[in-house]
């Protein structure tokens, strides 16, 4: 019986596979790094956006508080709405009998 003879891999094929594998690995490594940089960039963009929004919120809150100035509200209530301050004697407690 004739024994099946093992054919050694050709030297060229081995080198080709070896180099291809390395190229693939390098490509994956580069791809990983690119992904990392891409996400890092996105993250920083978001951080920048958060900082800008925080600053905007700060400005708006400050504007809101400037508008909510009690002295201005009092003046508006008195002059525009013709409201008057009330005394304790004018306040009555309602008793709800159940």
């Amino acid at each position: 019986m004739k024994e099946k003879q093992r054919v050694p891999m050709k030297k060229n094929s081995f080198i080709t596979i070896f180099i291809t594998a390395h190229i693939v690995l390098i490509f994956l490594q580069v791809h990983k790094h690119t992904l990392f940089i891409k996400n890092s960039y996105k993250h920083q963009q978001c951080e920048k956006k958060v900082a800008a929004l925080t600053e905007k919120k700060q400005i708006l809150t400050q504007e809101l508080y400037a508008l909510k100035d009690r002295e201005n509200i009092k003046k508006y209530a008195r002059d525009t709405l013709h409201m008057h301050p009330y005394t304790l004697a004018q306040v009555k407690k309602l008793h709800h009998d159940t």
């Binding site: 940089i37 890092s40 960039y41 920083q44 920048k48 925080t54 600053e55 700060q58 400005i59 809150t61 400050q62 508080y65 400037a66 909510k68 100035d69 009690r70 009092k74 009330y86 005394t87 304790l88 004697a89 306040v91 009555k92 407690k93």
Partner: protein
Amino acid sequence: MFYATVGINLYFIQIKHHTFYKKLAEQQYHVTITQTPLRGPIFDRTGRNYLAMNKDYVAAFILPTQLTDKTQTICFLKKHFPHAVNRLEQNQDKHFMFIKRRLSPEEIAIIVAEKNPDIFLLSEPGRYYPLACASPIIGLTSIDNKGLLGIELLYNHTLAGKPTTCHLEKDARSGYYYFKKETAIQGDVGLPLCLTIDADLQFLVQEAVQQTVTKFNAKEAAAIIMDPNNGEILAMLSYPYFDPNNSHTSSADHFRNRIVTDAHELGSVMKVCAALAALEEGVVTPDELIDCQNTLTTQIDGRIINTVQAHGIIPFTDVVALSNNIGIAIVAKRLNEKLYDHYKQLGFGQKTGIKFLGENVGFLNPPEKWSKQSILSLSYGYEVSTTIMQLACAFCIIATGYKVTPVLVTNNMNFCPSDEGNKLFSDTARNTIKEILEKTTLYGTARRAKIKGYRVMSKTGTANMLIDGKYNPDKNLYTCAGIVEKDNYQRVIITFVKEAQQKDLYASIVAVPLFESIAERMLIHDKVIS
């Protein structure tokens, strides 16, 4: 020849100056930045109202060594920022110079319109204070946003946080962005602070004080509302106060929180403390008849005593309610040195424990320095100088029997009477003095403080000011101190007015209506309706 030149240059770059170029490259690729956290805001007791918040201010600067058009820049600065020109002349070799910090919107518009390439704008963190009347409490920050006064200074460490230092890896084109970030020193964020002050109540108190100051053309005024059960200060107004958003326009005198920093001889309001001491020691009973000699001036132990209104033989209750100096001095003599001990127990002549910088301990004349006059003077509020804060604490003791430490910052761990030791004064003495104070409000000197449906216990004090070693009868201090009660609701209110311009005024006309006005506003605000 060409290859030789390239080779030599390569030698110099790669070998000879290797370290220099390596360092240069590292400087471009590795950047270290320090990020200062946002300063924590300050809220009132509700946690909804800001008392101090962050605001970005704009500063303008130039680089004196890199000016492209010096003549034009100087011409612009001369016209709009003349102070900066003088500084520029002195700092011509400096790399950086501020033109002005905290620019107004108009100044920013002028700079932007000029489009001068030598002038740069920079955003700087700062503070905005929505409630100006709370400024003596909250204080303010410096131009570098560091606590300078009040709570801002006292809690600077908590509010400011700690800066974080990071190493960034970037290249020449990455600009704002980086490839890698490593935290070298981890900082802390600035923590918010919640005060016991109620912003709305503070404003209502400010309104009432402002009206009184305008009406009597007074120089100074102050008012405080305290919860005697836990020592929380709900409103504390010191007038005049500075504008924290425009502090450079205010006088240095307006920066003090007078309630804590200024001590005065408050006069008759101290009779409450002398009476409490006498009742506690059992040297007098409320119904005991005291001979007030039906005169305005008399002598006790050879010392002259004046009183505002003459009374004959009246019960001790009326001595306090009608504020008779002769009557209270007669009773105080029975106490002698014990009066000093009781004043000490009530907290006079010592710190109240409030966490606030610049607290004045006042002065309580010790028995070893007493003259024959001392015991008499002490009984009606002279030879003892106290702050409004100390007086408020003494009234808290009258209200509850326990000593409380006044607090301005909430920490949910405030004093609870049941955890504390013994009461400082017996319930009998306290209840008696409270009844006397109630009578003072019903038919005594503090009649105008009466509020229908509520238990108001108050006492007035009109004191001459000591100027150049003499008591000036034309310059007075008007005080009204009291407790407002309704079921479990208790508040201590002190009102104080200094130097009203009109003459012949008494606390019953100046400080008592202010007390009543504040009490009414407070009851409506707190929805304590009878």
